[in-house]
């Protein structure tokens, strides 16, 4: 399915979830679709750590669903993240693997073993039970509620086409993103992120 169509649909269903995007196409496409500056954290400098970052958040704000989007380029750098995710078994964590079968943000360079990687099978192999894979927008729409809105640690593979062009990076630097996102969490979740509260 088209990458943008996929993200546009998911963003249309976005309610109260905190969203973590991995570096490259995921961050850039979510920015392009939503222009959100508070509820999404564009972990543009991450390479394979977005789901661990999201798990750390999900651990402390159990009442808030956390969606993590990582590309398969990021995933292949640290597939063992699935072992840690399953071990933690956070019911409010959904990990979307955006599979375009290439290193998207570096001019779509070849991904190792691209045609054979079965990410859903890898997730099942470590014991993750709620595993879904969608390669069409219709199938995503049909089963979105079951896959994404039901509670339980979930791994969702989204097979998308390569973007084919360079996208704009979210125009915020690190500290700005840190404070926008952190203050949002403080407001809605009632936790104290920073030592000096705004209250």
């Amino acid at each position: 399915m088209r990458f943008r169509d996929c993200f546009e649909y998911i963003a249309s269903r976005w309610a109260s979830e905190l969203v973590i995007l991995s570096a490259g196409n995921c961050s850039e496409m979510w920015w392009e679709v939503t222009h959100d500056t508070e509820r999404a954290f564009y972990l543009e400098a991450s390479m394979s750590l977005a789901s661990m970052f999201g798990a750390g958040i999900a651990l402390g704000v159990r009442q808030m669903p956390v969606w993590v989007f990582s590309g398969d380029g990021a995933f292949c750098m640290n597939p063992g993240m699935l072992m840690v995710e399953h071990q933690m078994n956070l019911p409010n964590l959904t990990h979307f693997l955006v599979s375009n079968r290439c290193y998207g943000s570096t001019y779509e360079a070849r991904l190792p073993n691209a045609s054979s990687n079965d990410y859903a099978a890898m997730a099942r192999a470590v014991g993750i039970e709620r595993v879904y894979a969608f390669d069409s927008l219709d199938s995503l729409k049909c089963d979105f509620d079951k896959a994404v809105l039901a509670p339980g640690h979930t791994f969702v593979v989204l097979e998308v086409e390569a973007v084919g062009k360079k996208l704009q990076e979210p125009p915020m630097d690190g500290p700005e993103m840190k404070y926008r996102f952190g203050r949002y969490i403080e407001r809605v979740a009632g936790v104290r992120v920073f030592d000096d509260s705004l209250k």
Binding site: S46, M52, G80, G174
Partner: protein, 171 residues
Amino acid sequence: MAKAATGITAQIVEQVAKCGIQLVASLPDTWISDLIEAFDKDERFLHVPVNREESAIGLCSGAFFSGTGSLALMGASGFMTCVYALTKINYTYQIPLLLFMTLRGSMGDHAKYHVSNGLYLKPLMDSISMPYTVVDSPNKVSIISQAYTHSRVMSRPVVVGFTRSVLRGEQ
């Protein structure tokens, strides 16, 4: 393991608890096996064994945004693999992080294959302006809480390095 090691392990764990840390993410090194086990068994902490040290960096950095105090615990070799994660995540986004590390390759290490850690660990930390402090005796364990506070004041990672003799209770 010597009885004194139990004592130093308990001291370290108490200092970490005193900081309000609740999450400990670890990857083992032989020098910290007792410490990892102590965190794992202590109900005050959620101990998460990770697959690689960078995952500990990611997990603890995310935990910051949920108001959860955390500690990344690893060996020196593992720390060497984390330069990317630390400089890209913690430095870029100015996220504090307390990191415990074994000072492999330093005087007293009997392992030959930690030569690179002995030669390059401290110069590496200096080269990336990573604040660090060394616990080489039991009476320095109390610096842990200072290191944690410092990481939050500076919004940067701070490393606490432990020598073999202190972790093994040989002092």
